[in-house]
Symmetry: D2
Subunit: 457 residues, 4 copies
């Protein structure tokens, strides 16, 4: 039996290739499907089927890419009208060498969500593992709010029943292969374990021991952010996204081309670290650090205007290109060839951002200087623990709530680590704010320095 876990960084997406007897199945493929084709060939597997555990919302699924190349058949749940592929129903079974894949309808994250139970019939009729999609993760359950707030109660009930009636009875020993790992926005707080078992979840996740009423209340209280790009992903994944084929060409650009494209509303994304952005950057560029690209680009970048990346010429751009096309940013256009130094070597204007250590911040606050302290972390984190006097706007909400930030004051932004705060500053700079500081290390450093915080409401 072949079982390969394929991780897509950034969105912390887990997809799987399963194979036996020369035939293979992919569960929830990403859009750049070469990884499945390569692995399948390593194992001499013909890819026969693709399963989508649900209409994914955080990335554009690669099912149709695989279908286009291999002729594989696509299957998904029946409780949503997909414009491609075929429907499967509770109890449907598929053979794969000595493996049997059984479809379980497990609504809750979405109505059409399915899980795929795997048995190795050469061993036993007992279930071996289960692909749970976004139903249950290591240490977490799927979110229930994607159909809108009004549906949470209903979806939470479905999810409760799916877990209690379909999953837990399979037995403690069954291995859980979820569709996301730690860092995904598809669960509130997924643990950094790739795998789990039903028994381990039952022992370690108290939510699984709630009764239905408690559980629904718990889910109603859960407040999660929904990046605006989810909409496009849902549309793509319901209709079936356009087949991409070859990855888009990432054109190296020289500074005059960058300037020309900026006049044509190009979206310049500086993917360097906060310190680099602070030390110098192309004026009006958006800063999203490399590892945060998938997680935050969907809040700030549109699908029409050309996207241009700025880097320090260290590390490959190919992973960035892939992160973008997984989110259907096919409007990626190019990058600053040679990296940011090429910009300033040409004598171009250079923006800077004042980076503060927490110690600087502490001194300023101790001296009671008149600054607007802005916390851009998740609201729940802010509520739990914050620096005294901090205002709150979630980084993703800055564009629409920008008027709440005063233009006539020093604005000091912090987040968890100094990454999101620098992203926030880059957006404020784009909107004409000039007197800005971003706090390196932010709340993490602040706590490690033993500086005081305000807790709770």
């Amino acid at each position: 039996m072949i079982l390969e876990l394929i991780k897509s960084e950034g969105i912390a997406h887990h997809s799987y290739l399963i194979g036996d007897g020369g035939e293979g199945v992919v569960v929830d493929p990403r859009r750049d499907v070469d990884v499945y084709l390569d692995l399948a060939q390593d194992h001499d597997l013909e890819i026969k089927y693709v399963f989508e555990t649900h209409r994914n919302e955080d990335y554009t699924i690669g099912s149709r890419e695989l279908e286009d190349i291999t002729g594989a058949l696509i299957y998904h749940g029946s409780k949503l009208e997909f414009e491609y592929g075929m429907e499967v129903f509770d109890g449907d079974k598929f053979e794969l060498g000595s493996l049997e894949l059984e479809v379980l309808e497990t609504p809750g994250h979405t109505p059409e969500s399915i899980s795929i139970l795997l048995r190795d019939k050469s061993v036993s009729e007992d279930p071996y593992l289960i692909f749970t999609g976004d139903l249950i993760f290591a240490g977490e359950l799927g979110r229930c709010d994607l159909l809108g707030e009004s549906q949470v109660s209903w979806m939470a009930q479905l999810l409760y029943e799916s877990i209690q009636e379909k999953i837990l009875p399979l037995g403690d020993n069954v291995i859980i292969c979820p569709a996301h790992g730690a860092g995904s926005v598809c669960g509130a707080d997924i643990r950094d374990h790739d795998l789990s078992t039903i028994g381990y979840e039952q022992k370690t996740n108290p939510v699984l021991r709630m009764n239905k009423e408690q559980f629904i209340k718990f889910k109603l209280r859960e407040k999660l952010y929904t990046p605006p790009y989810f909409k496009k992903m849902e549309e793509n994944n319901q209709k079936g996204a356009e087949v991409l084929g070859v990855l888009p060409y990432l054109r190296p650009l020289k500074y005059p081309q960058i300037k020309e494209m900026m006049n044509k509303d190009a979206q310049i994304i500086d993917i360097r670290k906060p310190t680099s952005f602070g030390g110098g950057h192309i004026p009006h560029s958006l800063n999203i650090w490399r590892e945060g690209l998938s997680g935050f680009v969907g809040y700030f970048v549109n699908y029409e205007d050309p996207i241009i990346l700025v880097n320090d010429n260290e590390g490959q751009l190919d992973p960035m290109l892939r992160q973008l096309i997984r989110l259907a940013y096919d409007n990626i256009y190019g990058y600053l060839g040679g990296g940011f130094p090429k910009w300033y070597l040409a004598g171009q204007e250079v923006g800077k951002l004042d980076m503060w250590s927490v110690h600087q911040l502490k001194k300023v606050l101790d001296r009671k200087e008149d600054v607007f302290l802005l916390d851009v972390r998740k609201f729940n984190d802010y509520k739990k623990r914050r620096i005294a006097g901090a205002h709150h706007i979630w980084v993703g909400d800055i564009p629409e709530r920008i008027k709440e930030v005063p233009q006539d004051k020093k604005v000091v932004v912090y987040c968890d680590s100094g990454h999101k705060s620098t992203t926030a500053c880059s957006i404020l700079k784009q909107n004409g704010y000039t007197n800005l500081s971003s706090v390196l290390g932010s709340m993490n450093a602040w706590l490690n320095a033993d500086y005081p915080v305000v807790n709770g409401d």
Copy 2:
């Protein structure tokens, strides 16, 4: 200045990426163009132009693939009507950072052949190197027979003039970057040096010191083989081949699928070594060893029926797939997943071929046994030196001259090394011959064993 030589094994094709100042040019790209895109990104080069030194005949050019992805402009000589790209003329110049590329019209291999002369203006006005296409190689000159025998005299004259008037006067120091290396069928006997210089060629190639008359005579005497697939390449390269995009899917097949496909006229190519083929093979399969695939597939395999590869599950198939699509074999269908052992483990019929050492052959000949000894090397090699009593048919001519091989006798086939002879045997087997032997090591081993040969006419 960036100068990258990209070798395509099998057809011994040399293409080049040249770059400066963030801009790049590709000379004679192959059809799987990812290598150029990757190199260009490593060097932050935007690919601006593609030059075709001539309408290539031994592979399908990748110009349109590059154009499709990057928008690069395609240029070729004006003495042939291409249905894509643009014409360039003698003296046309292109800037690339501090480099200048100048077009020289250098007919002779074909009428529209051009060379590209490179100067680095940051250094000097003196020419630095020249891309000569199929005009001149290390130790060899281009063939003049591709327009047909009647044109050889005229083409040889053109080639002579191109060399004498355009190339040699550039100066001894100019580096020559040809379009082929050792092993190509585009020159009679190319040396295994990647580069040369005009001076070194002049000193070491006596043909360059002939007068025009001598030269034309020399070329008229040159007999080279023209694989039938050249026709399709010429057509592709004149019209512009279809854009391929992603490489075709190489489907792993199980033995029943192979059998089913064989009933549908699938072309089974066994790419293992002669010894492996001898020890066991799928009946009716064609044997062309891995390194010989590009060189010989074009004689025996058509462009309609699906192609299936058989290997020993050692080494990647991706290079084989690439060799085939470079020759426009887009009808590649799949391969025997798990390699040849999967065939015999299934209890299928297994063909065998008797492999002889030269010592066995010697004994048989010494005993004057009645065998039909068949030499399938190039005719020139046969004429120069052969085993006494050998009949000659060039391996590529076997299909059409098969009736010359007797069915009622032991047939012993030799070539240079035992590779082509095994290919020949596989074709004879497909045609019902059963009493066959292929000689391992063939003429090479025979000579190394100090066995006698017959020389000359």
Copy 3:
């Protein structure tokens, strides 16, 4: 939490890198330790400890290589006197970021065997997974016979108690990470699942439901082969093998060097497939196919005379070199540069081996021709099911039982697939047998062809 499974093909050895909080641990490292260093750097882990679950017998452990490079501390069980590293005892705990590793003494496979239980304290006090060494595998238990037959009863009792008292009570959900996968000789019949859980093993392995008496009887009946090289591994792993540092140089050799080395008792191993060996080989070479090298070299190759590999120049030799040094074959000397064709091209003598299909064999047997049919599979497999009239000698026993094979008769050898039978034939050839055939596909093909077998005693 970082958890990486590192597979060493051939011996089907599974080792693990576990990390958290910037610190890492390796369980049962192989001797070529670069893989751990590279992975550790990818995850920014300092390798602090190495655990040996037991004195491994099938490969030379890489603990001292890691110690030499990183300064990591080595730990192993206390029931054997190791000449390096430190002892750990039941209940000893190690911290690794938020992870806790607890030593469980679990004798049975060997007296000093330990298991390593892993808890993630950031999640819960509940055990998450366990590294079981050779105690329990997916679908199998460790062998109990390595101390000799007289100890099996006692070892089986220990193993039973380790499983029943230490492992099963941990809970169904605990993930099992064993030290071997399918194909290892350290368990009779390990399943091809990388992971398992305690619950899945309990449900699917009936041996786990035996009582102690039944279990001991069962183990007493279990007959497994012990390759002679185990002795050296045990010695290496108890004393601590010499630190290797850089991998040995794999010298490309030309045919005269090979001949010279053969005169100095060099051991020539032809790692090509049976069909290739059949089609032609260096006389007096041993054939062990690439994938079988680790599994069979230890029966036939000594640690003194230089080892030379012969291949077909397809596929890398580096994996073969690594397989050999994992088995402490530091006497590896070189390989035939350019592969087997270089031998026959030089006009050297070529050996051949007659490869039979099962259909040929069937015909011969039907005609009642006088052949000595030799089955070289495991004795248990022979007893269960064999071709009528077959004699049995386990391939590994051929050297010492060679006199049982008649010299004056046609000898036809079969095994499961045709690989081991060809190895056997190569040994017979080395010993002067000439009238030999090896059966391609062997028992697998025979059964697939629906030919009759004899079952049971």
Copy 4:
């Protein structure tokens, strides 16, 4: 014929593997020799000889590493007493398949310098190419000052004679393979061409057309910097450096370990770009950007105290490790695991450096503010063209001339691009300077912005 050029970035070192007939030679190997072993195996070459064109001064040669692994013989010129290897003399010849390597004694860069002339006897007796070591490069000649100023005249005369009497007479067509490419400190201004020819050099380098007297004068005027680490390299390369074997372990460190090591005089090298260093860094760290590491580490870092690297966790550290051990920095100890963010997230003190654009500098100068403008470029560049009012100290001389920099003034540092100026600032910061700015883009940007400069004396 195999000819592989191996480039070592940073020191712009070119070494070569040449092979034919299964045997190979390495010219001027670097210390991490795996690249030669891998290439040799790809081509089935046994490495027989190592040639050292001279006692290299800018890196520690890898001859003895190769000797240790392969048993290759080491050869060098006879005009220096090496404590390892063997001497060769003018006219000595070595066979390598059909290739002939002839030693030419070509003193000038150093007295014992040799060149290696290559003929392919299968083609002709004419020389094909020459490995010239540090005698002649593309567009440049070797420096003559390494024995000290008093020897320049004598060495220049030798070099002149070597070129005129040994090299130029070989013929215009001979290809030149030098030991360095653009960016090396072993030639004043090497061109960015990998290869050249004798004719192209003669046509394009006016120095080659000087008479002996002019040439000696020219060389006497040439002022080049000699990094202090050259001394150790010369010693290593004369005595024979210690054999390294495996690359040193690059230990990931956590911030408390870094602090502890700093108390033990660890040398912290921040290899990030100037902007990153400006935005935040570990106080007291030295900044040398990644690409500049080899070129500048030898001025500032000693061979005793442990070296620790700080990066942004983007891009591999392995290339940096290799750059360091090529310069014999075996005292490399570790790196900040997780990169610089791990430092500030821990709430540690963060240093900053004010990065100026050239526009800021222009304004400050226009306002005639009282700043100490410091130019740290090469003296020749300063003399040729500088910003008005700039003082000059070569970046490599800062440690010993630091007292010339005032402590009571704003110090603004510029160089060519902003990289060396940031290195300079980091050294000034280590020495207690606090009021510092480094100019991004420096002279390049200044000129591109069309700001005025002062030329000449």
